[in-house]
């Protein structure tokens, strides 16, 4: 296959490439806070005219993806208003009681709750909500909280893969590839559900040895009154109403021709209004601005390397290697993404991969444009492979996903150390299992049964 390249390799090309490489190396080394590195790298891109400010701020292809930014901010606002109502603590205590104080049952139920919550909330928020309750339950039963915490991190990463809003890579892919919430439900949710069911069965098998827990300790949990968790029933009903509306909006956003960010922003605005908050400053100050600015910086850095043609050049090289065989490319993407995200942040990874896949598509089908190109039937499995690999790969190591880092930190605070190897023992098999299942799914659904 012969592809002509029109990429000009000049000083700008090398400057942009150097900024990208240096930023990513510093991010990986964790010597400097990643948001600071990302914002500084982005400012260098603009100040050196590798990308213009106008392109960085306003152009969809080269600049900040505001769809991602507003979706993240809006969901954070909704959750921040909802958190003090005690809803999540209610769910967690209720679940623990449902497990009748039996550790294995509680672990499996907590894994399911984490899975469902993280499909709709971001994974870090989910583990931050569920981990304190897990520590409380573990203390009540006088058992180690470590398996609980690790299993919850893994379940949150699996759950996050299931929907467009579950995990940042999916939000980014959905926005860039113009895929709807329902597209994710149809193409990703089934395989994620299958992997979760297998994951739960394996957990049950691994932890089959029943811990002997005295009835007195079980009683500690059974006598908790979950209704006490609800601190503000009025705000809770308002929040659930808005959350329901937002989820409904996500399901039909494609039909209504709204971007997901519009739906989420409407939800945030409506809940701010209904909650009767006098000064929203404290709600806004709880937004994870550090994450938001990390995204903003990365979008601009990636915009720079797209503009100078680096991404196009790499896409040509990949097509040369795979000889345009898209099944091979899918498999390469899912496995490379999994191992890459097990060790590096999947957000910069996906930010770079998105334009790469679009460039590959443009090489393969030069006559197609816009949505027709992005949704080319042969291209779609590549998007799903990227989403599955990047999200599920996060389970591989303790540093693979933010949720993992959070539970390790919480365990540390509780005086229990989760070492890199300890996490790896749970995480790597989970990653391999889920990615193998996903590869089979991609192969069967998009190539074998095509």
């Amino acid at each position: 296959m012969e592809i002509q390249t029109d990429v000009v390799i000049n000083i700008k090309f090398w400057a942009a490439t150097a900024i990208l490489i240096f930023t990513y190396i510093i991010i990986i080394s964790e010597k400097i806070n990643k948001t600071i590195v990302s914002i500084f790298g982005a400012s260098l891109m603009i100040i050196l005219h590798l990308v213009d400010q106008k392109e960085a701020f306003y152009f969809e292809e080269l600049g900040v993806d505001w769809n991602v930014i507003f979706l993240l901010i809006s969901m954070m606002i909704i959750i921040n208003i909802m958190k003090p109502t005690g809803f999540f603590e209610y769910i967690a205590i209720k679940s623990a009681k449902f497990g009748k104080g039996d550790p294995i049952k509680i672990m499996l139920i907590f894994a399911m709750v984490t899975f469902v919550l993280s499909a709709f909330l971001d994974n870090v928020t989910t583990v931050l909500l569920i981990a304190p309750v897990s520590l409380l339950i573990a203390d009540a039963l006088e058992i180690s909280p470590i398996p609980f915490l690790i299993v919850e991190a893994l379940a949150s990463n699996i759950g996050g893969t299931a929907t467009l809003i579950g995990d940042p890579p999916n939000i980014m892919i959905g926005s860039k590839a113009k895929l709807s919430f329902v597209d994710f439900l149809i193409h990703l949710t089934p395989v994620v559900l299958i992997t979760m069911i297998i994951f739960l069965f394996i957990l049950k098998f691994v932890f089959k040895e029943k811990l002997k827990i005295s009835d007195e300790k079980k009683q500690r949990i059974l006598s908790m009154d979950e209704s006490k968790a609800i601190k503000d029933p009025v705000l809770l009903s308002k929040s659930l109403f808005v959350l329901g509306l937002v989820l409904l909006g996500f399901v039909i956003h494609g039909i209504l021709h709204y971007e997901p960010a519009t739906i989420a922003l409407f939800g945030a605005g409506l809940l701010l209004l209904l909650a009767g908050i006098h000064d929203p400053q404290h709600i806004f100050s709880e937004i994870e601005w550090s994450t938001i600015f990390f995204f903003i910086g990365l979008f601009i850095i990636v915009g720079g390397v797209v503009k100078v043609g680096l991404i196009k050049l790499i896409s040509i090289k990949i097509l040369e290697i795979t000889q345009g065989n898209l099944m091979a490319t899918s498999m390469l993407i899912i496995w490379f993404s999994a191992f890459a995200s097990a060790f590096i942040d999947n957000i910069p990874y996906v930010a770079t991969m998105n334009p790469l896949i679009i460039n590959m598509a443009a090489q393969l089908w030069p006559d197609e444009k816009g949505v027709a190109l992005l949704h080319h039937p042969e291209l779609l499995p590549l998007w799903w492979s990227l989403a599955l690999g990047a999200c599920l790969g996060g389970n591989g190591t303790m540093i693979g996903a933010s949720a993992n880092v959070i539970v390790v930190g919480i365990a540390n605070k509780a005086g229990e150390k989760i070492t890199f190897l300890k996490f790896l023992k749970y995480g790597m098999p989970t990653m391999l299992l889920t990615v193998i299942v996903s590869s089979i799914y991609i192969y069967v659904r998009y190539y074998l049964l095509k």
Partner: protein
């Protein structure tokens, strides 16, 4: 009046950071003060002649409350939980529990400055330090006494308490 006028001079008695909690608590409980009474509610923790922290009743109590108990979870405790948590403290060392937030006064600090520090940082005792060396301690009670003496019009033989105008 300044800090040095109301402080009790430092007598050199302090806890060692490496001391076990059990030992430290016994030491404080049986310590005989200058006025003859027995038992103190808190002490400085010193490594050599350097203050590294303070240990008080509040610090011990705080350390038995698990960090994960937030206002949303405080309803979900069980009978005997405090004792469960307290039994975990047996092998802790002073350095693991002490308040490491070091707030000092200097001998020439005003009483207002001392009062502000005690209240702002929720302290019971404020070490007075001169050139890196502890020279005295101001207890919250010492400052309280100054204030109530004023309110009651007993200070320095003056009678300009709350009953009088200016």
């Amino acid at each position: 009046m300044k800090a040095k006028d109301i402080m009790s001079p430092f007598n050199g008695i302090a806890l060692d950071p490496e001391m076990g909690l059990k030992e430290a608590v016994e030491f404080m409980n049986f310590y005989r003060k200058d006025d003859g009474t027995v038992g103190v509610k808190g002490m400085l923790v010193m490594s050599g002649d350097k203050v590294v922290g303070t240990l008080s009743m509040e610090d011990v109590l705080r350390s038995v409350i698990p960090f994960y108990i937030n206002p949303l979870l405080s309803d979900f405790t069980w009978e005997g939980m405090l004792l469960n948590m307290a039994s975990r403290m047996c092998n802790k060392k002073v350095k693991e529990i002490m308040n490491k937030n070091l707030i000092f006064a200097e001998p020439d600090d005003s009483l207002m400055e001392c009062a502000e520090k005690l209240i702002k940082y929720n302290l019971q005792r404020l070490p007075v330090v001169e050139k890196g060396k502890v020279v005295g301690i101001i207890l919250i009670r010492d400052l309280y006494n100054v204030v109530i003496n004023k309110i009651l019009g007993r200070l320095n033989g003056n009678t300009d308490g709350c009953g009088d105008k200016y």
